[in-house]
Chain length 159, copies 2
DNA sequence: GCCCGTTTACTCGGATACCAAATGTCCGAGTGGTCCGGG
DNA sequence: CCCGGACCACTCGGACATTTGGTATCCGAGTAAACGGGC
């Protein structure tokens, strides 16, 4: 799985801890975790394309959350970065076998494919069951100073 | 996910349909689905290292199942091919943050990491809940001629 | 005919190329702020 | 002092390198069978 998933989730949390009326630059968000700025920008673009963030160019521009964290599941973020395809992609090897037929979609009929799909479905269900708001609440419960510290760090780095 | 997982599972099923007292060559198993022989050999080696297959060199050598299908879960095959690592590998980006500490294992404490791990756990649980014997039974129920046809195909290709 | 040593052909196993995708970087289009001149 | 326009700095967005891992291939070590000669 791509590295950008982790970056995207943490950056979304940071965005949630900032005043939502001001946009945050990709460069600032990258500096917070010492990440390559241009590459994080690429990931944030993916989030924007997925409708999770909104992007505004020009001075005072940047990224901000497109909707409240309660409406952003972990699956949303993963899908935005990794794409909608399944991790296990059935290449329909049965078609090349001696009994293979061209008019059959083995992604549906092959029992191995079905089992793998079922497992990924369980994975997706778990991810869809947790929102970033849940994560945010857990973090604030474990270390209540995080929101204030994060805001202050970005304010100090405004220079 | 690697292509080899699909190849490995189908090849294990084919091995199960053959007389288990004779080993089957990687080249024959590859020819059944028109796969690159040397590359399938590589995947079968991984299965052998994982203890799923046993390999014997020399003439009349090849691969055979190391244990009955009932004791081979889909997770076993996936782990053998993909390795034991998680798909989502937490790079502990929090450590590089302003509040990051070197003596903390963020793979354990980070709530994002926990959530992703929980989802993968559900995925693994689904895979571990199904054995190749279950798949084999489903196939034989859907198309009972498969075992005989497979045996005959390999017998005909013995030349 | 039977046994044993040699040859031989066949298999896995790992070392070696190749290629696609993830990772990382750079520059241009576009926007909003800012500054300056005029009223 | 207030307003309008031009300039400018800043940001995203996509196009362009680089590196890593998956894909594919080839050749050697080792083994068991087969063969031939001797008893």
């Amino acid at each position: 799985m791509s590295e950008g998933v982790e970056w995207a989730m943490h950056s979304c949390l940071n965005l949630a801890w900032l005043d939502s009326d001001e946009a945050m630059t990709a460069a600032r968000l990258a500096a917070f975790y010492d990440l390559p700025p241009a590459y994080l920008n690429k990931q944030l673009q993916a989030l924007a394309r997925a409708g999770i963030l909104t992007s505004t160019p020009g001075p005072r521009g940047g990224f901000r959350l497109a909707r409240p964290l309660e409406q952003i599941t972990l699956l949303d973020v993963v899908t935005a970065i990794e794409g909608p395809g399944d991790a296990f992609r059935c290449e329909q090897v049965l078609r090349k076998g001696p009994e293979g037929r061209d008019d059959v979609d083995y992604r549906k009929s092959c029992f191995i494919s079905q089992a793998m799909r079922q497992a990924e479905l369980a994975w997706r269900k778990e991810l869809a069951g947790q929102t970033l708001a849940d994560i945010k609440a857990k973090v604030e419960r474990a270390s209540p100073g995080t929101p204030r510290a994060t805001r202050e760090w970005f304010a100090r780095r405004r220079s």
